[in-house]
Symmetry: none
Subunit: 247 residues, 2 copies
DNA sequence: CGTGGCATGTATCAAGGATACAAGGCATCT
DNA sequence: AGATGCCTTGTATCCTTGATACATGCCACG
């Protein structure tokens, strides 16, 4: 609700000045909040800390955003919009499936590079009504619509959108939960291709069965056997790790 | 760290009494907290409210759980354990893939019937260190190990576990974000089957269970690969012969 | 120059996490 | 038995933080 210092007519110079100033203050506050969020974590984002960082008094936050939730919504929206704006999206892609891949990757990348922001937007189910959340869904629906138009979808549009969203969300949150040394990029591509297979007609190439599967089976069954000595088993395990990883 | 009123010997009656009493108080507090959580939401779970509901003073919470986070961890663990205990899990399933389906469904069901608890456990990535989180992972790893032993896994065990976890997490959180009228159960089964396809092979890599069967399968698949040196392969072959003969 | 409306700034409230400190009970030791 | 010391219980209180009431003062308008 922008305030009005006049009842009618256009904006006076002063009015547009203050309106623009207000908008600029909003930006400054939001950016201060994002900075705090990514640098010191969610709990550091208190109305006071944000106010100080933006150089104004605590009550100003409430005048600009209503309440803290309003601030957080604005933060999510701004952060998301900034990320999307930085990556220019192809408005008319040649290959809609490749476009879907790119979009999924983009969404995941957003989560991985802005973990605190992503968590803010997607961790609690109740935040699904926020503007940023909806904006993401809108972009996704556009992609899905193009897929549908090209006849690539094997499921309903809405259904596809939810599947895509769910795999991405699971991928990001799970990735962020993993300790650094267990973060295998292949996880993301696997989940992505899994999603592609679920939503489109294109089936992934069936990888022929090498020794990896049998190696994994033997590795899992290894503790039960008594034929080999400890040392032998130790070395065998190492080889099996290599064979399993090779597939 | 349970307190000790004696240096040696077993527990005196009084000691076991107070220890048991303490344990019982803990339970009462946890159950009060779960009740508050599911009935009035996450924000209603204040140390004061929980204390009042359990009939004691606020500081008692800190003596029992250290801090609020400790309380929430205990709540998550208790809630999760109670759910798992209510569903008895087949310790030796016939069909490990069907078992994986059942396990995934169980995890998702937990999320859908205990949304507040689930959100508590799985919303913030930083909570991956909690006991309840780890307990869930343990159960999952057991299932994955059986799949591996049966030769069904098409990817590494850890890899599979993460994929399974991620799809389940995405499924639950997305489901909870959807308005009621858009919650299609087919979403869950689709995501589940997608996950199954990503993680398992249609044909198991081994014919017979146990180390011997796996060894035979690996021996059959071995000649073509180049991951191991000649000498390593030679020795491996000998061990596989012994393992195969052992069954 | 007076007046009214709106933004700014100060002071404060209320809720909640956390803790200090005193009071009391119980077992051990002499 | 009485003294002693530790551990538990209970009370009061602190500090942060979200939120708001109220006064002050600026500025345009008449």
């Amino acid at each position: 609700m922008p305030r009005r210092s006049r009842d009618r007519d256009g904006a006076t110079p002063a009015e547009s000045d203050t309106a623009a100033g207000r908008e600029q203050t909003r930006r400054r506050v939001i950016e201060a909040a994002i900075d705090l969020l990514e640098r010191e974590g969610r709990d550091a984002v208190t109305t006071r800390a944000v106010a100080v960082a933006a150089g104004l008094q605590p009550p100003a936050i409430y005048r600009l955003f209503g309440d803290k939730d309003g601030l957080l919504d604005a933060v999510a929206e701004h952060g998301f919009a900034a990320f999307i704006a930085a990556k220019h999206v192809d408005p008319d892609p040649q290959d809609p499936i490749e476009d879907l891949r790119a979009g999924w990757d983009l969404a995941v990348e957003f989560g991985l590079t802005n973990p605190a922001l992503y968590t803010l937007m997607y961790s609690e189910p109740t935040r699904a009504t926020s503007a940023a959340f909806k904006a993401g869904m809108e972009i996704l629906m556009g992609r899905v619509r193009r897929l549908a138009a090209g006849g690539w979808l094997r499921v309903d549009e809405e259904f596809a959108a939810v599947i895509i969203h769910a795999t991405g969300r699971g991928a990001v949150l799970t990735w962020l939960s993993l300790p650094e040394d267990r973060r295998d990029p292949a996880l993301l591509t696997t989940l992505r291709e899994t999603m592609i297979a679920a939503v489109t007609d294109r089936q992934p190439a069936v990888q022929e069965a090498g020794p990896a599967g049998a190696a994994r089976a033997l590795r899992a069954a290894l503790p039960e056997q008594t034929t080999l000595s400890d040392a032998e088993r130790h070395l065998l395990r190492e080889w099996l790790d290599r064979l399993a990883a090779d597939g």
